[in-house]
C-alpha cells in the first residue's frame, strides 16, 4: 500500500458526505393548525425555508455495573432516543419573511399591553390547535421533522425528474416540541453580520431511513 492511487479500496470509495448537503421538512400535528406549525410546514414543503444548520440525533444507553469479589460486569438497562435538535435560520429582509419573526415569537405582544383584562393564553400546554384568538399563535409542536441528507450526484433531476431529489439518508424526529427560540446576534450599526435565530426542538424518539425518494 504505497499510494492512495494504488489503493483501489480508498480510491473507489465515494466522496465524504458534506455537512452542507441537507434539508429539513416539518410535518404538522394538525393539518388545519395555524401559526408556526402551518408556517414552517408550508415553507419547508415548498422549499422557501432556509435552515442553515441543524444538529443530528443520537442515542444514549444507560448501564448498571455489578460487582463481585473484586470484579465487575456491566449491563445495558435503558436506551434513550430523545434529545434536542438545534436549528439555525437566516432572517430575511423581505416583507413576507418578517412573518417568520411573528410566528416564531408565538404571541402577538401588542395584545399583552393593550390594557384589556384577559387571561393570557398558554399555547405551550395545549395538545391541539386552538380555534380562537388567532393573534395567539398555537403551540409549536410537530408530529415529525425530517432531516434529509442529499446524495450530491442526484441533487437535481433532469427532464421529467426535475422535481425529484434523492436522499441517501433521512432522519425522522418524532413528537418535536419547540423548547427554545433566540436570536444569535443583536442589532448593531457597526456590524456586517446577518441576523440569524436558533430554534431548539426536543424530540422523544428518532428513526432512520436510507435511500429515500422524495418528490417535492
Amino acid at each position: 500500500m504505497d499510494s492512495i492511487f494504488t489503493n483501489t479500496n480508498v480510491f473507489n470509495l465515494s466522496d465524504p458526505m458534506g455537512t452542507w448537503l441537507f434539508d429539513v421538512q416539518f410535518f404538522n400535528v394538525n393539518p388545519t393548525a395555524g401559526g408556526l406549525n402551518k408556517f414552517l410546514t408550508e415553507k419547508s414543503t415548498n422549499g422557501d425555508l432556509v435552515v442553515t444548520s441543524c444538529t443530528l440525533p443520537g442515542h444514549e444507553t444507560e448501564i448498571v455495573t455489578r460487582n463481585y469479589f473484586g470484579s465487575e460486569k456491566s449491563y445495558p438497562i435503558l436506551r434513550k432516543y430523545g434529545g434536542d435538535c438545534e436549528m439555525r435560520f437566516d432572517i430575511r429582509a423581505e416583507n413576507d419573511d418578517n412573518a417568520t419573526l411573528y410566528r416564531i415569537t408565538q404571541v402577538n405582544t401588542r395584545k399583552l399591553v393593550d390594557g384589556a383584562d384577559r387571561i393570557i393564553y398558554h399555547p405551550e400546554v395545549e395538545l391541539r390547535a386552538p380555534d380562537q384568538y388567532a393573534e395567539i399563535v398555537p403551540m409549536a409542536r410537530f408530529q415529525k421533522v425530517t432531516i434529509g441528507l442529499i446524495n450530491k450526484t442526484k441533487m437535481y433531476g433532469s427532464g421529467d425528474d426535475a422535481t425529484q431529489k434523492k436522499y441517501h439518508s433521512q432522519y425522522d424526529l418524532h413528537n418535536c416540541i419547540v423548547t427554545s427560540f433566540k436570536f444569535d446576534n443583536g442589532l448593531d450599526y457597526n456590524s456586517e453580520d446577518k441576523l440569524t435565530c436558533s430554534l431548539t426542538l426536543h424530540y422523544d424518539i428518532w428513526s432512520y431511513h436510507s435511500d429515500v425518494d422524495v418528490t417535492e
Partner: protein, 211 residues
C-alpha cells in the same frame, strides 16, 4: 470462583425497576355493582388507574420475633407472620384530574361518601364503617395484581414474559395524599394513594402470555 465472569448468576441481565405493570381491574367483581353499566364504567376507571401508575413498592415479607433469655444469653424465636400490609402507589395526573376523580370514587366505596357530613340519613350517603355487609360479601374480588416482566423478553410482537405476579387480596383504599398547587412550580402533578391488603401471594409465571 474468583471473578464475576465465572459466576453464572451474572450471565443473565439484572431485574429492572421499570419492567412492570399494575392491574386494578379485579378490585371489584361484577356482582358488586347494581348494574352492568356501572360495572363497565368502573372497569374503565380501573384500567385508566393502571395506565397512570408511576411507582409502587411490593414484596415485603415480615415476621415478628421474640427474645428468649436463658443463663445470660439470648436467642430469638419467630412468632407471628405479618400477612397484612400497605400498597403505596404514585400516579401521574392529567389536566382533567382523571386520576383524582377515580380515586375519589373508590375512596367513597371503602371509606366515606363525601356528602356524609351533610347527609339526612339517605341510603346513598353512607359511611361504610357502619355498613360493611356489601364489602364483606365481595371480599374475594378485591384484588390488585402487580406483574413483573423479564427484561430479556420485552418484544411487544411476541408474548411478553411475565416472570412474577404479586397478588394482593382484600384491598381497600385507605387514603390519598394531598398534592401541592403552587405558582412557583413548573412540576407536573402526581397523586399518591395507599391501599391496605389482607395478604399477598407471589406466583411464578415463566411462560405465560401477558394477562
Amino acid at each position: 470462583m474468583e471473578s464475576i465472569w465465572n459466576n453464572t448468576f451474572y450471565n443473565t441481565a439484572p431485574a429492572l425497576s421499570w419492567t412492570y405493570k399494575v392491574d386494578f381491574t379485579n378490585l371489584f367483581g361484577k356482582s358488586f355493582f347494581e348494574s352492568q353499566k356501572v360495572y363497565t364504567d368502573y372497569n374503565n376507571y380501573l384500567k385508566i388507574l393502571g395506565q397512570a401508575v408511576v411507582s409502587v413498592n411490593v414484596g415485603q415479607r415480615e415476621s415478628e420475633a421474640v427474645d428468649v433469655n436463658y443463663g445470660g444469653v439470648t436467642f430469638k424465636k419467630i412468632t407471628r407472620a405479618n400477612n397484612t400490609g400497605n400498597l403505596d402507589f404514585t400516579f401521574n395526573e392529567d389536566n382533567r384530574y382523571t386520576v383524582t376523580t377515580i380515586l375519589q370514587k373508590i375512596y367513597e366505596i371503602f371509606s366515606m361518601k363525601q356528602y356524609y357530613p351533610e347527609s339526612v340519613g339517605e341510603e346513598n350517603d353512607f359511611h361504610p364503617y357502619n355498613d360493611q355487609s356489601k364489602l364483606i360479601k365481595n371480599a374475594a374480588s378485591r384484588l390488585i395484581i402487580v406483574r413483573c416482566y423479564n427484561s430479556g423478553n420485552l418484544d411487544t410482537q411476541k408474548s411478553q414474559t411475565i416472570t412474577k405476579e404479586y397478588k394482593f387480596y382484600g384491598c381497600q383504599l385507605q387514603g390519598m395524599d394531598d398534592f401541592e398547587l403552587s405558582y412557583d412550580s413548573a412540576e407536573a402533578i402526581t397523586r399518591s394513594a395507599s391501599f391496605l391488603y389482607d395478604y399477598m401471594i407471589v406466583e411464578d409465571h415463566d411462560s405465560a402470555a401477558e394477562g
